[in-house]
């Protein structure tokens, strides 16, 4: 039970139309409940890697097993169901700026709401209560009925996390969640992200380029360089020399 894999990537390859090989035969198995950081220089393929997992980017070849089920061939409704179990946090928050904070959090419920109702923004009362309690957890309940763009960068990222948690996901994937934040806001965001994942037993995959944060906040670090995994181990095993190798 302890070493149960929630996500297994087998020989994932992604070659873009212009011939760029973004990912070359990635094999990765993620243990349930762990916080895994993926580090690597920009352009190393880490963004493509996590987008391949929920198939926002279609892998060229390979297999993805999520919660024991093969999801590479899924389409339409069944693919959306898988996506609703995978929360995603972005570097640039990607909130609907003019919408209220609470509305942005409720977007996490779209995958569970009827197509028409969701389109019109008519969410269940229960969902609204859940969204408010999540905003409370990330410490920004008081901004629930403010426009998202009135919040600071760090607060907006906490809304992004709240949206992902609102999906009641098994995995949260974060793509450079703190790359555009100052050090203190970065720390707050990383703490909320890790603590909530640990409390709720959510597996986390976090793309980072700040190695220090990766070492501090994760159970396991995977380093990617030019579309290949060049390191996979605990933070302790990641020695300074290795880091130098990755970034050079």
């Amino acid at each position: 039970m302890e070493n149960e894999s929630i996500l297994v990537l087998k020989n994932i390859q992604k070659t873009y139309k212009d011939g760029t090989a973004a990912l070359k035969k990635i094999n990765l198995s993620i243990t349930k409940g762990q916080v895994v950081s993926i580090i690597g220089p920009s352009g190393s393929g880490k963004s493509t890697l996590i987008r391949c997992i929920n198939r926002l980017v279609e892998p060229t070849s390979g297999a993805i097993e999520f919660e024991g089920k093969e999801i590479m061939k899924l389409r339409g409704k069944s693919l959306r169901k898988v996506r609703s179990k995978i929360g995603m946090v972005f570097q640039s928050h990607n909130l609907i700026k003019r919408a209220h904070t609470i509305q942005n959090v409720l977007h996490g419920r779209l995958g569970y709401t009827g197509s028409i109702k969701g389109s019109l923004g008519m969410f269940e009362k229960r969902d609204v209560e859940v969204a408010l309690s999540i905003l409370n957890r990330v410490g920004i309940e008081e901004f629930a009925y403010k426009r998202a763009d009135e919040l600071s960068g760090g607060q907006q990222q906490r809304v992004g996390i709240a949206r992902a948690i609102c999906q009641k996901p098994s995995i949260i994937m974060a793509d450079e969640p703190i790359a555009s934040l100052d050090p203190s806001a970065s720390r707050t965001v990383m703490e909320y992200l890790r603590n909530i994942c640990k409390e709720d037993g959510i597996t986390a995959i976090i793309n980072l380029h700040q190695v220090e944060f990766a070492k501090e906040f994760s159970d396991r670090i995977v380093a990617v360089k030019s579309g290949e995994i060049v390191f996979d181990g605990t933070p302790d095993e990641l020695m300074e020399a290795k880091i130098f190798q990755i970034y050079n």
Partner: protein, 261 residues
């Protein structure tokens, strides 16, 4: 010194263009047989018309009022139809949403074609198809609006950050939810502001479409001039002027409300 004196010449980047324009002007002028006698005679005719224009008159205010209402109705219905169809087409025309590039290209080409045919021509075509009355006016305005709105809506969608669409998609949202909660919610104020702008244009069109028989106030103007009642024509013109000005104030008010959202 000389550089300074000649500096205005440097501003004319393409002196050839000036020469071509001059040639075209002279050529057109001589081809059209515009003579000075004709030119002066037109003053006399103008005076005849002006004499009969004043004082402006309104013979049947109720009929005129109904015609104004009909023109506005034609503009409203035509604009709303145009907006709905344009929104749907724009989703498939926007290159960042459209599943197939070919579909996007075909819709954009269609919109460009529709746009290049003037509203009056559309009205005349629809009169042939469905007969006189407000219906061809509505259709002409809707179709002409589509030509412009598909282009500007699609461009607004294309200027959107694709990652916002990605973010909504990643929650497991359906395509319809992505479009409403992601795309439209992000750019709603731009969409409304273009639509209101288009309504402004359409009110002008709907007042003139009646001239070819597509209903509304334009028809009254046509009737007055055809019976040489220039005083009535001027009266109708004033009414059209009032109608357009008040609609402009109304839309300006709406736009100001939008900015405060």
């Amino acid at each position: 010194m000389t550089a300074k004196n000649n500096s205005w010449i440097k501003h004319i980047r393409h002196p050839n263009a000036l020469i071509i324009i001059a040639i075209l002007f002279v050529f057109s002028f001589s081809q059209l047989n515009i003579t000075f006698t004709q030119f002066f005679e037109s003053f006399e005719r103008g005076k005849y018309m002006l004499d009969r224009m004043f004082p402006p008159q309104i013979s049947e205010p109720m009929i005129l009022f109904e015609a104004v209402i009909q023109s506005l109705q034609v503009a409203v219905v035509g604009t709303v139809l145009g907006i709905i169809i344009s929104l749907i087409l724009a989703i498939f025309a926007a290159s960042n949403l459209s599943p197939y590039p070919l579909v996007s290209y075909v819709i954009k080409a269609f919109a460009a074609f529709v746009r290049s045919v003037p509203a009056l021509i559309w009205a005349m075509l629809f009169i042939i198809a469905v007969g006189f009355g407000p219906t061809p006016g509505i259709l002409a305005i809707a179709v002409n609006s589509i030509g412009m709105l598909v282009k500007v809506y699609a461009e607004s969608i294309e200027e959107m950050d694709v990652e916002i669409i990605e973010a909504i998609r990643s929650t497991g949202a359906s395509p319809l939810q992505v479009i409403f909660q992601g795309v439209f919610a992000s750019i709603v104020s731009i969409l409304i502001s273009w639509s209101v702008f288009r309504f402004d244009i359409n009110v002008r069109y709907s007042s003139i479409l009646g001239v070819v028989g597509a209903g509304g106030i334009g028809w009254e103007l046509m009737a007055a001039t055809q019976s040489s009642r220039y005083d009535l024509a001027l009266g109708v013109t004033f009414v059209i002027f009032l109608m357009i000005i008040s609609i402009e104030y109304f839309t300006r008010f709406i736009k100001r409300q939008l900015e405060s959202i």
